[in-house]
Assembly symmetry: C2
Homo-oligomer: 350 residues x 2
């Protein structure tokens, strides 16, 4: 498919590089609000067209599908504009900063009968799919608990946007979303009945350290923490009645995991699957792409893009793993967490 | 010193065996409400005197100090009775099931001007002391977060008391107390300002799975979970601004830990200290004691007993590491957690 990338930030770069490992996918256009930035991006990544406005990209008849990778605070507006042009949309997570925004987006997709998916790429890693299958088969027994964390020390002078509330920043929406997705994956999509949290807001208004406990029926629980101030382990454990799953760092884009049955007569199972080959791929200029990614394991964005392209080709309007219902359920949990920790976005006021 | 052990359960057994590695400490008497049980215990462990009532042990002028190791629901009553006889008291944790009980106990100790300590043995492990020193020296920087869990699958048909609310059971009071002590140790004894939790109560009324998040001033947080239904990792991580501390299973009675500075120019430090020699000690009958403990690393109870005996010999009325103030602060946190998860003890009604 022919993609337009809206935005020229770290994730837009990584997505574009990762596509080198997805031969059927082409980035045909990049757009931003500044033509200079788009041109620079296009030159660097050998993208044919650079636009100085998002609308131009959406009007381009050669664009089959749109990847929204601008600041979080612009996701809904850009995704809705694309859907209005009947362009299928992959919107980077979080799809919106609050449930109202996500609802508006989902309704726009439905109204336009056009494909929409939130880019929670975690779900498309082969290791995650294998773990999901193992859980559905009952290998783990009944899942009782999920423990996970992810944190890093954000260099706030270098990356102020990550925690800037006016850009939809903060640890919860940036990375906490994966913690909640993992727990909901383990509990087969069920919504938590209880949401408790403590959190700290940073100087730019976004949360910089948030610890959460979620409760589901039957005493099932998740204990999750995200930080922009600490190198939290970034690993996850899913406990079941028959076995536990350990996913090492980085659990949100994993290349390995272990299933350990409690019965000492049963052997542990290791699951692993390396990244797509983009890291060892050369770009049009003949340069090796290895080490060109901004973010860890970004080559795995190819898994997501391939799946989305296949869904669109098959005429689907949503993805089975990151359904509209799931996106909405997760943002509703995040709204509850934000209420607990006093985190507000400008969009909350509309 | 000459000790009387009140109670004949698993921990009373382990304490008595551990004393074989504390040559200055002697168990001179054991007491329970059933003379038969006391006699059996005394015979097994070569204890000179067996009493069929707790009062007899407290009246015994050859008893210098009392270890209260009966069911949790009896701790306050027995410890107060011993203090009333001016006997120094080491009371197994939790000292009481609620803050009211613990306050009553502390007041009784003060009124009788007699030594009292809650047996939170974790604090006396050399590894924990070394970590505490490292934190006080500033090796870890400012502590920001504590992540810890502990869980096991309680065979409820074998150990119903562990989760029986009428006996002061439940995961929070049985083991969750260590999670909170570790967090308060990391935050230098400060009380948390926020306490949030989700929990599940078992068929005997005690909590069988509890996840907590605690918040301190300045965005400091702890994320803690205890279970009687899951093999939670039982490890802990303390994150600071300069380094992190990892304490492997079992964090509550550790023989090793690692301090990892974030600065790659600084080397990680390993701290380790094996258990006292009781595991390889023979009892009076010449039998090897190794593998005789009911609970993990119980040989380390000798650290605690030695310290308590030294405190009492030096005329102290409380211990510096497990102060009366700390015991009260922790039970106040546990009261708040219980309120959140709807866990009540019979003693709450008085």
């Amino acid at each position: 498919m022919r993609w337009a990338v809206l935005g020229t930030g770290q994730i837009a770069h990584d997505f574009t590089i990762a596509m080198l490992a997805a031969p059927k996918e082409q980035i045909v256009a990049v757009a931003s609000r500044a033509l200079e930035r788009s041109k620079e991006f296009a030159e660097k990544h050998n993208v044919p067209k650079a636009y100085g406005s998002y609308d131009e990209a959406l009007e381009d008849p050669e664009v089959d599908i749109v990847y929204v990778a601008a600041a979080t605070s612009c996701h809904v507006q850009l995704a809705c504009a694309a859907l209005g042009k009947k362009k299928p949309v992959l919107v980077e997570k979080p799809a919106g900063v609050n449930a109202r925004e996500v609802r508006q987006l989902l309704e726009t997709a439905q109204k336009n009968d056009t494909f929409l998916m939130e880019g929670v790429w975690m779900h498309f890693f082969p290791v995650v799919r294998a773990l999901s299958d193992a859980m559905k088969r009952g290998d783990i027994g009944d899942i009782t608990s999920v423990h996970a964390s992810f944190g890093w020390m954000n260099p706030v002078d270098v990356n102020p946007g990550v925690e800037d509330v006016t850009q939809g920043g903060g640890g919860l929406l940036a990375v906490g979303i994966y913690l909640i997705h993992l727990a909901m994956l383990a509990f087969n999509g069920a919504k938590p009945e209880k949401v408790e949290a403590v959190g700290e807001l940073g100087p730019k208004g976004g949360d910089v350290r948030t610890s959460m406990v979620l409760g589901w029926s039957g005493g099932r629980q998740a204990m999750l923490a995200v930080s922009l101030r600490d190198n939290y382990a970034g690993s996850a454990v899913i406990y079941g009645t028959k076995a536990k799953i350990s996913i090492p760092f980085p659990f949100l884009c994993p290349t390995s995991a272990t299933v350990e049955p409690y019965d000492p007569k049963e052997m542990p199972t290791s699951i692993s699957e390396g990244l797509p080959c983009a890291e060892a791929t050369t770009n049009a200029a003949g340069e090796l792409i290895s080490n060109k990614f901004n973010l860890i394991n970004s080559a795995g964005l190819a898994y997501e893009a391939n799946r989305v392209a296949a869904d669109v080709s098959q005429g689907k309007k949503e993805n089975e793993h990151v359904s509209h219902e799931l996106s909405l359920a997760v943002i509703e949990v995040m709204d509850k967490v934000r209420e607990k920790i006093g985190l507000c976005y400008p969009a909350d006021k509309y």
